[in-house]
Amino acid sequence: MSTSNDEFEDANSHNQAIPETVTENDKSDNSQNQTSDNNEESNNQDESLQQESDPSQSHKQEDDPSSQQKHEDDKPPEEVVEDTSPPLSGPPLPDRSAIKDALKLGSNNKENVEGLDLMSSTYDKQSSNYLLESKFNQIDRSFSAKDSKYKESVNSGTDNIKKTFNDIKNTVGGFSDMFEYKIDWDFWTQIVNDYGAVIHNDSNKLNDLISSGIPKEFRGIIWQLVSKSKNFQLEEFYISLKAEASIHEKSIKRDLSRTSFFTNVEAVNKGEELFNVIKAYSLYDPDVGYTQGMIFIAVPLIMNMNDAECFCLLVTLMKEYRLRDLFCPEMKGLHLLLYEFDRVLENYSPLLYNHLVKQGIKSSMYATQWFLTFFAYKFPLDIVLRIYDIIITQGIESILKFAVNLMIKNEANLLALKFDKLLEFLKDKLFNVYINDDFINFNGDSYALKSPTRNSLTGAANSGTCYYKLEELVHDAMKINVDPIELGKYANEFEHIYEGEKSKTDDINKIRIENGELRHKIKQLETNYANLNRDHVGIVQKMVDLKVTLPEILNDNDDLNNEIEQLRTDIEELESKIAETPPSSANDIENNIQELLATNAQETERFANLEDEFNTLVAEEAALDKELKTHANSKWFGRWG
């Protein structure tokens, strides 16, 4: 459920320093919750209509202790009940957690819706006290759910605050005649000593007093007291975190130097402290880390207390006031608040709401900065401080009162404007309706007066007249009814829409991924197709080529066939010729051989004869030669002899 802080608990890794346990045991119970068949759930919800006559006896259960802590409960808490019997004093105190659960269980259950309607008829919607009381109860229950160490730490913190208050009272109180406004010290002392008792016994007066502004002398003290933020244990933890390094340091420093809300006011000499607080928070809650807008939230705090106290109150606002839901990554709390704003505005002025819708203006376009900075982004500090007074005592939903009131007060102006002028007006002129007449008369044109926008508080102290009609502003805003039961219904609607949107987004993302994959496949197929196409073209080309060469080949083939035919006939002819030739030829050859052999024999014989003849001749020659020699010798001797 959007109103739950479960995310915080889960995410809060630094939380070990301030362990929490649900220890309380609800004495009263709640008819709404009895319908819950889930113990853990029912544990988590509690009150609704009941009136607590004795706060110390019946601690309503906090709606957002973490689930693991719920398990630690040894006995399931009995549900709070106060039937529909009229409260003893004051209006009944609906709480959103009960409404939330009733809605959750009964979304299909007419009875529960009727129960809610019944519930909503039991308190006075014209009174804004119920938010005051509801917030007190919520904080009280949450506190009761903590472990003893935590309680001890907060209790001693509270004692410390009380002491500081008494010191201030003793020093400043004596000179109260010198102030331009009177401080009701007695009543404030009562508040400081027992806020719970004042809530129960004198809530109207308390409401009036807070609505006219907590005196700046002890504003920080009241804030801490009401929110039960001061906690020595947490302060010690802050000191240790202060020494650590955060990945957000650079962004924080950069934004500090460029946040005029901070640089323009006297807090400027608290730069170091403010930096430490924001840095420590970014370490304390790493899931949220640092978000632009936190500086705006922290400036009014640091101006009213020291840095350790400021850290504690920031943690408390984030956690107990669900501010964290606004700053966490999906900013679901912001979207819820915007949705609730739309619905409340629509209720108050359907005309204005429809005009904005027709002009295409969504509340997120202008109200985001109001909610994320408690109006500090564009609007003056003294207004912001007054808004803080209300938010801390009434809870974060009370910011809707201011937002819706400003819209209603400017209704006529807004209805006359079109898109861009409308946005311009919404951005920084909304508070102009509350500029003091004195300033308007002096200058004739209220818009010309820009100088005191940030520091009108100081200006007011000097001149005696506030630039803004603060009393009227807060008073008007308090008249806007922000009905917790209606808010519960809106939250339920929002949850449905949000879940719907989320599943739509998830679907879209899923489809996108599928689409991507398919696109990838298509690409692959396209490449494959291109390849195939290329191959195909090649093949076709070859085929064409082949088709072109085919006739030639066929011709060749024919030629070759003819040739073969020719050769075949040739062969046949030859064969037939061979067949025709007489078989005697072999004999002829034989005869020839014989003849040749005969010839050869003859020739051999002749050769032998010739050889003989030759031999004879050789012998004759030799004889002749011998004869010749003898003859010659005799002749020689004759001549010489």
Binding site: S251, R254, D255, S257, R258, T259, S260, T263, T291, Q292, G293, F296, F327, P329, E330, M331, K362, S364, M365, Y366, T368, Q369, L372, T373, Y377, K418, F419, D420, L423, E424, K427, R512
Partner: protein, 215 residues
């Protein structure tokens, strides 16, 4: 043409990492002003400014969004119907260039198909006097141009501080936006008017727009 062209409205959204100078660029364009240490934008800011390009007057309806990552879930509301987007990075911060890349991707995926996107590397004044050896510049002109060419974006390096190139961004975007595509509250009225002009008295108007469109 005896009457001036009616202003055509162009919805423009600025996106980019925190502290790159989105709001400063808008402030320079809208008011010709510069503030050192401009306030961080929470949520988004809306501003308008008219700009004359040739014979055309464009009325920019500018959504200046918050840069911090945390606010990213709000951005789609602003860029969903935008006809133009300026994605800004800081030329001395490489991480902001990576973020710019993401924004361009997201715009291509989620914004309207024919959105005109300009990629703008801001804080040129910081590198103006740099020597080659020592430069604060961490993202080169080539890197910026490369991304712009890859993704089909206009590209500028600007300085909101010195006003260098700032008007050129808006003129560049304006001349790239086809006349027919511009929309706004006066759209129906304009279409009639344009139609008459196109058909008769101003033959030059159409081809120019078409030419711009094609480039």
């Amino acid at each position: 043409m005896s009457f001036p062209n009616p202003a055509t409205s162009v919805k423009l959204v600025l996106l980019g990492e925190a502290a790159v100078g989105k709001s400063s660029l808008v402030l320079r364009f809208v008011s010709n002003d510069f503030q050192e240490n401009k306030e961080p934008t929470i949520g988004a800011a809306f501003l308008t400014q008219k700009c004359t390009i040739g014979e055309r007057t464009i009325k920019y309806e500018i959504w200046d969004t918050a840069g911090q990552e945390r606010f990213a879930s709000l951005a789609p509301m602003y860029y969903r119907n935008a006809q133009a987007a300026i994605v800004v990075y800081d030329i001395t911060k490489p991480a902001s260039f990576i973020k710019a890349r993401h924004w361009v991707k997201e715009l291509h995926e989620q914004a309207s198909k024919d959105i005109t996107i300009a990629l703008v590397g801001n804080k040129y004044d910081l590198v103006e006097d740099d020597t080659e050896e020592e430069s604060l510049r961490k993202v080169s002109v080539e890197e910026g141009k490369g991304l712009a060419e890859e993704e089909g974006l206009l590209f500028f390096e600007t300085s909101a501080k010195t006003s260098y190139n700032v008007n050129d961004v808006f003129i560049g975007i304006g001349s790239k936006i086809p006349e027919a595509a511009s929309a706004g509250p006066n759209q129906i009225h304009q279409t009639n008017n344009d139609g008459r002009i196109d058909l008769t008295s101003d033959p030059n108007n159409r081809p120019r727009a078409a030419g711009d469109c094609a480039c």
